[in-house]
Every structure is written in C-alpha cells, then in structure tokens.
Chain length 422, copies 2
C-alpha cells in the first residue's frame, strides 16, 4: 500500500488539495471530493438577451416584465436585456424593465462597443452596460499589435463614458478562445486600467473545454484587478463544466439563460449551473436563491418560446429523481444520498422509486408493499418480484398493474389469516 | 506587452502546451486551442444497458436487435447489454444480440461481480463481460484495509474465470469519486495484476467535475497497465466534459447512451460526446463513425422510450445550426466557421439563417433576397430590414410574411423598371 500512499501524496499535494500539509494524511480517509475553491459567484441571467437569440424566441413586454420579476424573486444578481439599439420596442422594453426597480437583480443591457449604443443604454435607465467588442473574425484578423490600439481607444472611450454616468460597465471580447492570446490579454489589461467593473471572456462558438477555460481565466485573473465574467455556449456539451472551471480559476460572474436558450443550442442553463453549484456548496446556493421557483420559471419560459422542457433536464426533468435498477432502489430507500447528490425537496420535487419493470429488486417491491399498507411475508415479496420480472419481460407494466398483483397476495393472505382465526 | 509575454510563457509552458520549447513563441500567433492530447478512444454504447434503466425504457427483442444493428453501422466499438441475470428475457436478448455477429461492435454485458452472473454472461455468448463491484455505500463503509481483501479475492476469481473462457473482462468500482482513494487504487492495482482488460471509473451519482476526473484518471493511469473506462452521470451537467477530461488523462473507453438515457437524467450522450470529439479531432471522428446516422439512431431510440428529442440536443436539435442575431448571420454568411465549429453537412443537417425577427440585420436580409432571386437595391434592403424590425416588435413574423414583404419591393421595382423601358 505504501506505493499508493506515496503516489497519492505527491499527486494530491500538487494538483488536488491545498488543505493537506507537506505530507499526505496518515489516518483519515482520502477522498477526491474535499476541496472547495469557490467562495461566491453571481449569475448574469441572460434569458432576455441571449435567450431572445434562440430560434423560437419572441418576448413581448408583458412577458419580459413577468420573467424579470420571477428571476428577481429567484434571486439572480443580474438580468441582462437585448440591446436598446436592436429595435424601437427593445429600447422601450429596457426602459420598462429598468423602471421596475427590482429589489434583488440589477438590470443590464448588452450593446456593441459604440458610443451611440452606450448612450441609448444609459438613456434606457439600466443599472449597467455590458459592452462587447466586434466579431470573432475581426479579432482573429489581428496581426500582433495592429488594430489593437484602435480597439483599446474605442473601448476606453465607451467605458469612461458609461462610468461617468454612474453605471456599471463590463467589456467583453468575443470568441475569446480563438483569439490571439497576447492581444487579448493586452486589451483586458488596458481596459482594466481605466476602471472597468468586469471583463468578459466568451466562448461564443462553444469550442472550449474546461481545462482551456481554467487556464485562460487564470491568466486573465493575474492580469486584471476587476471582476471576470464567463459566457459559454453549449455546442459540445461543456457550458456548465466550463462555467464551473471559470469560477474555480477566479471568475466571479457567470452568464446563464433559463433552459439554456440562445443562439444555436444555447448557453449555460440556469438550472444546470444551480445543480452544479448546489453540489459544490449546498448552503451557499440555498442561501442565495429561491430554489423552489426554478420549475415555474422554466415552465413560463418554455411556454413563451414554445418548447417542451427536455425529458432529461437538470433537477426538474421528469426522471431526474426517478430510481429504477433494483440495486439503486434498494440503496436509495436505505439512504437517499447513496444515489442522490441533491435533495429533491429543496427544489419542490419528489423522489420516485420505479418498480414496474424487469430490473426491479425485492427491496424496492417491499417498500411499495409498505406504502400500500399491505401484509406480505418476505418470501411472498420475493415471489411477487419474480412475477413482476416475468410479466415485464413480455409487456411494459404500469404501477397499477403491479399494485393489483400485490393486492392479490395481500387478499389471499388475508383469507388465510381469517380462516386461521375462524 | 513584455509582461504578458512572460506571464504567458511561464503559464503556457507549465499547463497548456507541450509543443512549445523552453521559450514562448516569439512571432506566431498564440492560441489556447493548439494542443491535442487524445490520440484515439473507444465508445462503449450502453443504451441497451444503462438506457434500460431510464424511467420510460422497455426494449423488446426486436428493438434491441434493431438498435444494436444501427449502433454497429454507426461504428461504435462496443455495445453493452443488460445483465442476463436481470430476467429470463434479458438472458435471451443477450443471446440474440450476441448471435448477430456484428462486424464492427463487440457485445458486452454488465453484471455484478458474482460467479453466478459471470457464468450466465459467458453462457449468453457475449464477447466480453463488464463486472461492477457492489454499491457505493458498501465501498464507502470500508475502513482502511478492512474488507478490501474480500473484494479483491472475489474480483480476481471472476476476472480469472472470464479470461479463462476467452472473453474480454472489465472490473469497475461504483461511485468512484466518493470512495476511499487509497482503497480504490489498491483494488485497481491488484485487479490489473491478474490480467483484467480494463478497469472502470464510475461517477455513478453525477457528482464529479472535470478536474477531479482528470486527477483520478491520471492517478489510476500511473497504477495500472490495462485500459481505463469512464462512466459518468449527468446530474450536474458535466458528463461530456468529464468524459473528455478522462480521455485527456489517459482513459481509453467512454460509456455513452443515445440521448444520454439512463438512471435519473442519464449519462454522457452519444451525440454530445461525438460533438465534443469532432471539435477536438474532426478527421479521427469522421474516420471512425458514420455521422450521418446519428439523427436516425436518436429518433429510433426516442420513439422506443416515448420521449421527444430535446429542442437543444447536440448536433441534431432543431436549432443547433440556426443563426439569428444580425451580427452572427452576417458573419456566418461570409464564413460559416466564424460561428460554427461543426459542419452541419457532415451530419446530414442543414444551416438555417433566421431573418424574420427584430434582431435581424440587412446582410442576412440581402442573402434572402438573393435566395429568392429578387431585384432590390441595398438601400431598399436596408429599408425592408427596418420594416421587418418594426413589424417584429409587435408580432412574431414568419418567413412567409418576410418573403411577401420582399416580393412587394421587387414588384414595385419591376413596375418602375418596366415603366422606364416603355
């Protein structure tokens, strides 16, 4: 075992945990799950900006006001709105939502790095302006040094203007992971110097994976003193893990949208980020957010954009707390944390142990017998379990089918018990 | 700029790229995306095992044969089936699928680490046996050293038996990330010594994040000489990123299921892993798999288990290649790779540039004018774009609405052109 201890010690000390001393622990149990790096984070909820870029999305003013109100009650720190420069109504909607004076969420709008757009944003009365520079191809076309001075000059002007109006301001690049790294860092550093509140790192095309995100955020963290925001698309399924890696590396703000709606297949979903962060620090997440509202918010947004909540949605998907295989069901009945890392009741959800199938086990069936208040011996339950498996081999069973079968045993037993007493 | 260069150099050399020499590059553009760590990987497709544990799933024999055939044609390296010990029909189904003698996919079944189950598996005629030990609580209850000798003894017996029958064998722990690490490594090491083909690392409860997965796989990679398999649940949205991190750390086999179906909200989805790996190494993925089959396979499985393919599904979700915001649409029309990291045609999909909304821009509208073969000046197109924005502010527009509007300009123009000719 010593070789494992030594290996473990050297690797754990380097890469996993900072809580150990110079020697690996001698007596206590060693787990990979111990370390918590993230003290706090803020959500920039972008359903009303990025989400409006989802194929189906069209939010009218009333819907925007309703969704903003619900997100505020949920407790997100920021709500981001479509640019007031996009259309006349978009400007009016910014004003309408900003005038709500929500008690928990600050209102942001997301504009191009132009003075015209920045002025419209200020005029709309939002609390802060999220400025984004240009397009990815624009950034990629830089040769070293060329055009950077132009970007920096423009950005400084806009940032200084927004600050002078007493608003929060963020400066973000686009497609940060395919941009030239030295240029990117130079821009962030210069913008930080003029007092920007946040710089934004964006995986606009969903190409990055967590190690890359961690490394880039870590670099930026060493170069700027302001906050750092991460915006990640989900084309290759990494948006939640990327957001988490960003936070681990020192990022402070994460962009989300309800159900992840956005351009193409969208960005980090609010519910998914909540699941990830709850698992990391349950108390922090429960203190910050009204978790029982999540399902209602998702249903309202799904209705607005005419989609069905995915069957496998985080937390609120209809099978998220369903347990099926016999071995899982047995353990979950003994101790839910064996196969559940989130408590369904924290989200207003309920656990379901599914027994009407051929993978079931007798412990799960016994639990159902007890739920139904039936009297059956363990041998009878085992026999009934085999019958369920056999029936399910030929046709999908319902819980009603199974309950009827269990009632038969109980009734037969009751007849015997009555006969014995007579 | 020098401070950035130096910082970059020191950090890149340590953590990002191994392709640089001792000094950071002086002249060429620096990107975070350059490094490729993964040379190859194999998919263990578990729709017919893990997927059968999805709440809705009931696959009859014909469906199993159909799905196995399609997965083989797609090119997955392995197909994993429900334990022959689960029910009589499960045994028959193992035999039926094994007897297909598929030309690309080996057939595995997944059994508890018991001789009885292992014998049934061998009898069913599969190519390999995936053995899993006990339950998470069982593993967690270990105190150091206690009971490990029992596990190892049992596992060795089973592994040696399966090998003696000329079959592939894998040994996996369960809930690996909440197990005692020294115990886990000792077990893997001992099982490796008796010639197991693969050891399996399982995030059974979906609690792990990529850095933990990377670190654990890296540890195991240094302790065993056999292959390493990763199985990850998606409760906190990290299954794809975790699978990728596992591969980066030296893992060789990844478990997937079609649409990710499995216990609770499931595991790494086949399509999501494909999206991630295509982005990492397009040529490798195109060489290994018949990508155009992905959508059909997903539709067949979705039908079998009565779910709708999620609106935001990787690659095949209906908006995965839809571009909406004006700035995105303009860039994508100039060069698709600006906002697309996967070519839709590689998957038999098509790109859609959405223009019937208030976020549209005149370049996208111009593209539609050209598609329709209409004659309009740039000024007219800009005017039409403003009309589209105004109309969309009040009511969601359809592409038919927009086409009609554009035709009006064309017809009006044609009348003028005709009048001028007359």
């Amino acid at each position: 075992m010593n070789i494992h201890r030594r290996l473990l010690g050297s690797i754990l000390n380097n890469t996993i945990s900072r809580s150990y001393g110079t020697r690996p622990p001698a007596k206590r149990s060693v787990h990979l799950m111990e370390e918590k790096k993230i003290k706090d984070f803020a959500i920039i909820e972008s359903t009303l900006r990025e989400g409006e870029q989802f194929a189906n999305a069209f939010f009218d003013t009333n819907q925007k006001v309703q969704i903003a109100g619900m997100l505020n009650d949920f407790g997100v720190e920021y709500i981001e709105l479509t640019s007031p420069a996009a259309s006349k109504q978009s400007f009016e909607d910014c004003k309408a939502v900003a005038s709500l004076k929500l008690n928990k969420s600050k209102i942001l709008t997301h504009v191009r790095c132009h003075m015209d757009d920045a002025k419209l944003a200020v005029e709309a009365g939002v609390d802060g302006v999220d400025v984004v520079f240009g397009t990815s191809s624009y950034l990629r076309d830089f040769s070293h040094g060329k055009d950077i001075s132009f970007i920096i000059k423009e950005a400084k002007k806009v940032v200084e203007y927004v600050k002078s109006e007493g608003k929060e301001v963020r400066f973000s690049s686009e497609d940060s992971f395919r941009s030239d790294l030295t240029d990117l860092l130079k821009i962030y550093s210069e913008i930080d110097n003029v007092g920007v509140d946040r710089v934004g790192i964006a995986d606009t095309v969903g190409v990055a994976h967590p190690r890359q995100v961690y490394n880039l955020v870590k670099l930026v963290r060493q170069i700027v003193s302001c906050d750092i925001e991460f915006h990640g698309h989900n084309d290759t399924g990494c948006s939640i893990a990327n957001s988490f890696a960003a936070l681990e590396a020192g990022c402070t703000h994460i962009d989300t949208s309800v159900l992840g709606i956005g351009e193409r297949n969208g960005i980090t979903p609010l519910g998914g980020l909540i699941a990830r962060m709850y698992t990391e620090d349950e108390e922090l997440v429960k203190r910050k957010y009204n978790l029982k509202m999540l399902r209602d918010i998702e249903n309202v947004v799904a209705d607005c954009v005419s989609v069905t909540v995915p069957f496998n949605n985080y937390i609120t998907g209809y099978s998220a707390f369903t347990h099926k295989a016999g071995i899982h069901a047995k353990a979950i009945l003994n101790n839910p944390s064996t196969y559940e890392i989130m408590k369904p009741e924290d989200f207003g959800m309920t656990r379901f142990v599914h027994i009407a199938h051929r993978l079931t086990g007798w412990n799960a069936v016994k639990n159902r017998v007890e739920q139904l208040g039936l009297e059956m011996t363990d041998d009878q339950i085992k026999e009934a379990t085999n019958k369920i498996k056999n029936l399910s081999d030929f046709k999908q069973q319902t819980i009603d089918d199974i309950d009827a079968l269990l009632h038969q045993y109980h009734t037969a037993g009751a007849n015997i018990r009555t006969a014995n007493r007579a």
